[in-house]
Symmetry: C3
Subunit: 150 residues, 3 copies
């Protein structure tokens, strides 16, 4: 069995440094065996899907949001190997009223979870929602709930 | 005491088949005694409240979202009779900026929960939010957290 | 150590009466040691950030949303002194597509939590999202998860 940290190395992925918080809150709170992660955008990914951003742009943004969330997760738990499973994502896509493809956008984050944790630990519940606007003009923002390994 | 499954029968409600997922995620994840259900839209319910959909259209959409959520719940637990209580809904309504009636729309889902589970088990916390757009053009999308009976 | 209830008194804050619910749901549900609070807007705070409301207006709205949430929390637990810690906020800001400052708006709520509970109990995970519209025309709506003291 390849561990999530080994898998990251195999994929050639280096997690980014923790982004500065945009306000008066924490990057995560752990309660019992659940880790609640604050919403993360991704630097360099701005604009609205359906207007100045394509679905492929959005997928890359969602993947980068997830890298930021995984950096927070490692910071909280010391190692991604302490993740029991991914429980839930809530993903927001800044978009025009006629945009219909938020699921394909958020799949950029979901697919990375499958690559790193496999289907059993990486499979998760999810909602994908179109937002009028997101902080700093981000095109995607995702929050996550993670179960810590027992 | 009428059980939730008996109550469904009395109401003449047949739960729909599970909708295909719109992306790389699961319909639900159970962690401990909580079941986290992915956001569900409802087929045939498209458009924006305040534009091409009425509040009554929206209520029907929300009720159909809840039927999809209950179908997922039964799939997860084997029977709705294993629901301990409904904990929380997060409901999104695709709408125009001047639309003010998201609560009346989401009540279509909340009222069905009361009919099926009664006030004690069916009463729940809730937020209702206006979204710029929803996946596939859905007019309503709802996610839910359910406590499993001990 | 000053307790949260003492701190409220020192700050000269009186919590408002519970707002009437906008639909067929509860103000909160407790499950285990977690209290899930329904989304709260704030009376007198209507409109869209980026259009007819300033960031400072929004901060005041967010603070008033939090006062409503704290009133619900006291109603649920009997006293704010029974709060173990604040776990998570999900904050929505009704805004125009070009609005970028949702974090500064929701900080109006987060900062009040720090004032009342201090950094250790008041620090929380958070997401701030721009919504097309909110119930009754509210400019801000916030939901919260609170851990109850053991």
């Amino acid at each position: 069995m390849t561990s999530p940290e080994q898998r990251l190395t195999e994929l050639g992925i280096q997690l980014p440094p923790l982004r500065p918080r945009a306000g008066n809150y924490l990057g995560y709170v752990r309660h019992g065996d659940l880790l609640y992660l604050s919403g993360q955008g991704a630097d360099g990914h701005f604009g609205h899907l359906g207007a100045d951003r394509t679905v492929e742009d959005g997928r890359r943004a969602a993947r980068d949001c997830m890298l930021n969330l995984l950096a927070q997760t490692r910071s909280a738990l010391g190692s991604l190997d302490h993740v029991g499973r991914i429980v839930k994502l809530l993903g927001f896509v800044a978009c025009t009223p006629d945009f219909r493809d938020a699921p394909q956008v958020i799949d950029g984050a979901s697919s990375l979870l499958h690559e790193v944790f496999g289907a059993e630990r990486g499979g998760h519940a999810r909602s994908a929602i179109g937002a009028a606007a997101l902080p700093l003009g981000f095109s995607v923002e995702i929050e996550m709930v993670v179960a810590v390994a027992g």
